[in-house]
């Protein structure tokens, strides 16, 4: 049985779901995106910690689905559907996509935060899932926790404290 105080922790490039009164969190988001998709009637939420915008960037045949925006969102939606959420009720909140360093470098990987945000927005738009709130960009790390009971996303930023979106 679930412990009412459970926090489901999601690692980097991973994903999971939780049921109220559980909450779900991920920490140390820089250029990565913490994306929450939730059903506020069923009080079920899924979270994916996306590192990169698209699975076509992968140079291996086997992929860790949570690493990429496209495969991560697809898998998360399947998991949510299996839990009995209704597709038309799904909503999203996200945080992350920062640029931690101002690097003068030919490597486009170092501007990945913005591309991650754009990729997530585009995919959610295709699925017609509205983004209710977001805290993205900037140059600070973030830790997030989603509370399905209230539909709030708690965002903690280094040096700037906590806010709810």
């Amino acid at each position: 049985m679930m412990n009412s105080r459970d926090v489901v922790k999601v690692g980097i490039a991973d994903l999971n779901i939780c049921h109220a009164p559980q909450t779900i969190s991920t920490s140390g988001l820089g250029s990565c995106i913490g994306l929450v998709i939730y059903d506020e009637v069923k009080k079920i939420a899924g979270l994916v910690h996306v590192m990169l915008p698209h699975s076509s960037l992968s140079r291996t045949s086997e992929i860790k689905v949570g690493k990429y925006a496209d495969s991560g969102i697809d898998t998360l939606l399947n998991m949510l559907e299996k839990e009995g959420t209704a597709k038309y009720r799904l909503k999203a909140k996200m945080a992350g996509g920062a640029q931690m360093f101002q690097v003068q470098n030919s490597n486009p990987m170092l501007r990945i935060g913005k591309r991650n945000v754009e990729a997530v927005e585009e995919i959610l738009n295709n699925y017609r899932i509205p983004i209710i709130a977001q805290d993205v960009g900037g140059n600070k790390g973030r830790t997030i926790e989603f509370i399905p009971e209230t539909g709030e996303l708690k965002v903690r930023t280094a040096h700037e404290g906590v806010k709810f979106i």
């Binding site: 690692g11 820089g30 250029s31 590192m51 291996t60 360093f101 101002q102 003068q104 470098n105 990945i112």
Partner: protein
Amino acid sequence: MGYFSNLKQLQLDILKEIGNIGAGNAASSLSDFLGMSVMMTVPKVNVVSFDEMMEITGGSEHIQAAVFVPFEGEINGSVYILFAPEDADRFVKLLTNDPSQTVLNSNNSLALSAFKELGNILVGSYLRALSDFSNLQLYQHVPNVTIDMAGAILTEGILEISTVSDEVILIETVLNELGDNKQPMSGHFVLLPDPLTYKKIFKALGVSSDDEQS
């Protein structure tokens, strides 16, 4: 998965030696710069998951003062030097000769630039040692400084490797004990070569895998 599963002990030892020479060189630069002794631990080389990597300095959310230096050339990758903010502040106070300086005030550009300069010296000596040892050319980019969550900082260095692997070779050396009264501190060097760079380093040092030698 398994990108690094064929690594031989000899290859891991070579990477350990790179960590050793690099950090040794950096410790001696730091010692010259500050006019006091600086010790370092034996380097560790481990193949770890991304989540495990974020734990090296105490957790993904843990605030660290970091200087991040990407490098390019015959070999590519990045190096971090990470300090607990209070250890970074000890250097900053020494360098500026002002006990009120702290890197935790994000508007304090003097403290941040003093810390950046320190990081630049350390990473510069580390990379020079890597280049000399492997006889491979590289040039370092402008250093970047940030005081933030370890996870957010370290992820930037593993984006490239994450397209081929869910694990990373962590080449980690810790600087500790500063001065004659042996004040403990901990500064982590983390070297993150890009995927193809490992092969070049191994080839340059004559420890390629069997299939590549044929």
